[in-house]
Amino acid sequence: MPQRARSAILSCLLLAVVLLAWHVGTLPKGGAAQAVDPEYARLMGLDKPKSDGLPTPAQMGATIATQLSDPFYDAGSNDKGIGIQIAYSLSRVALGFVLAALVALPLGFAIGLSPLIHGALDPFIQVLKPISPLAWMPLALYTIKDSTTSSIFVIFVCSVWPMLINTAHGVANVRRDWLNVAKTLEAGTLRTAFQVILPAAAPVILTGMRISMGIAWLVIVAAEMLVGNLGIGYFVWNEWNNLSLSNVIFAILVIGVVGMILDFLFGIAQRAVAYVE
């Protein structure tokens, strides 16, 4: 049996074990054999099986089925389908990410090409890079005065660093030989930048973009929990306030799957620009 098939079987087995453990863990607790008036029991909800709040796998399945059956419903500002929430989150991530790329790629080029600029900007980068993007949130809210724009700004801040650092690194480490070829052929600055340095550094740059996208997707959930109104992060927080844990778990699964798809897409882009030396 090929390795892949064996791995797949093992994966399914693990999933089954987890589901089973979950099922056993959330079984209704029996033995509430107190003699009470049936009417009183009905009023207090004691006739229903007692649960500790966590949904059983079966309830979870039902939640997933209802959510996915109509992902784009819109029943007011606090009640929108998961598809709409994801679309909002994705659009914010995309906007913040594209803005970050517009800044990070040219700046990374400049840093990679010029030791002077590298030396001048490095202290700032070293200080700004480790700051949690969410720490910017109050400042963003105060200055921008718009929650959506603030969350886009936070995405921008968190995705700019990996792209910047990788672009600078990739550009600075283009093989001397290729630059010499361009020089001896009297290729112009722009032609060298776009036809030699860019393709040579592209794999490293795309690795940076992939890391940035991963971080942006992590941060958007937290940012939306803070700023509220729409998006998958807000959805999680709202369902927590509704004490609907099955919806929270559902949202967690969706966040994971969307993140995986984003990463997969960047993996494809990475393979497209990869080269074998």
Partner: protein
């Protein structure tokens, strides 16, 4: 400076730190138009640095290089370089690697003309059928041939080769050497080439520059290859001059390159220009029957 002198190097020196001894100094030689010149010397004598200065990629600390009446002061399409490690761009196909060079030379050419020009040189180095492969799919010898095609395709006035066959196995090397002989004979190309291989130098070069060891390396001798120019690696070693020249070169590399560096040998360090020797000729031999005019002038 004779009329056929194409490239003149005078008093060239390079030091990497002001306080350090120069890697080489007082390097002087000339190359005639259409001449094939090889440089031999041990590692560290600055051969590659000299080539980079000729290419315009590096600057000399002292001295000057004049090519075709103009001083070299930066890279130019007049000089095609074949790099030690082929330096092909791995994300481009064979055709596009050469096209990058052709487009640099003739920016106004339409794509069809560029492609046709590339094809001519791909055929010349016998890589027909590999146009759309990437360098990673080629053998070492094929990659080096693409590098040669790229350098030839811009039709430079001078070709600079930095140990182009160093990484190849003997069989491949022999085949490409013969191709290079044929191409150079056909195009009357002026060539400056670095090599470690004594036999390669005798096969290819009209003139062999011998460098002493670094630091403070110099061109100690210019060996004139007195073998007739139509050389083939199959019979070149049967010529009576072959082993005399070869022994001279090997002797130089084994003993004299070090002695000369230390100033203990017959050539004084302050001698104006390197002496020209013709070890191929035995005592009383006539100069080669029909030496090429460039060489003859040099000797006189």
């Amino acid at each position: 400076m004779s009329a056929s002198t194409f490239l003149q190097v005078r008093g060239l020196a390079k030091r990497y730190a002001a306080a350090a001894a120069p890697v080489f100094e007082d390097v002087a030689f000339t190359i005639g138009r259409g001449e094939f010149v090889c440089v031999i010397g041990h590692s560290g004598c600055g051969k590659t640095t000299i080539l980079n200065i000729l290419a315009g990629l590096d600057a000399a600390t002292a001295g000057e290089v004049v090519m075709d009446g103009r001083e070299i002061s930066g890279p130019s399409l007049d000089r095609g370089v074949v790099f030690q490690g082929h330096a092909l761009m791995p994300w481009l196909t064979v055709r596009r690697n050469i096209a990058f060079a052709v487009k640099s030379r003739w920016p106004d050419w339409p794509r069809s003309r560029i492609d046709a020009h590339c094809q001519k040189y791909i055929d010349l180095v016998r890589l027909t059928g590999n146009e759309d492969r990437r360098p990673s799919a080629l053998s070492g010898g094929m990659k080096q041939r693409v590098g040669i095609a790229r350098a030839f395709a811009i039709q430079p006035k001078m070709l600079l080769l930095d140990e182009p066959f160093g990484a190849l196995d003997a069989l491949t090397r022999g085949a490409i050497q013969e191709e290079l002989v044929a191409i150079c004979a056909g195009t009357q190309q002026t060539v400056f080439m670095i090599t470690h291989d004594v036999d390669e130098a005798i096969l290819l070069a009209d003139k062999i520059l011998l460098m002493t060891n670094g630091p403070k390396a110099r061109v100690a001798e210019i060996v004139v290859n007195t073998l007739p120019r139509a050389r083939s690696r199959h019979d070149v070693h049967h010529h009576p001059h072959y082993y005399r020249i070869r022994n001279h070169l090997v002797d130089f590399l084994v003993h004299r390159s070090k002695l000369l560096q230390e100033g203990r040998a017959e050539v004084a360090a302050n001698e104006e220009s390197p002496r020209v020797v013709m070890p191929g000729l035995a005592e009383g031999d006539e100069a080669p029957a029909a030496p090429r005019p460039a060489l003859l002038k040099q000797i006189k």
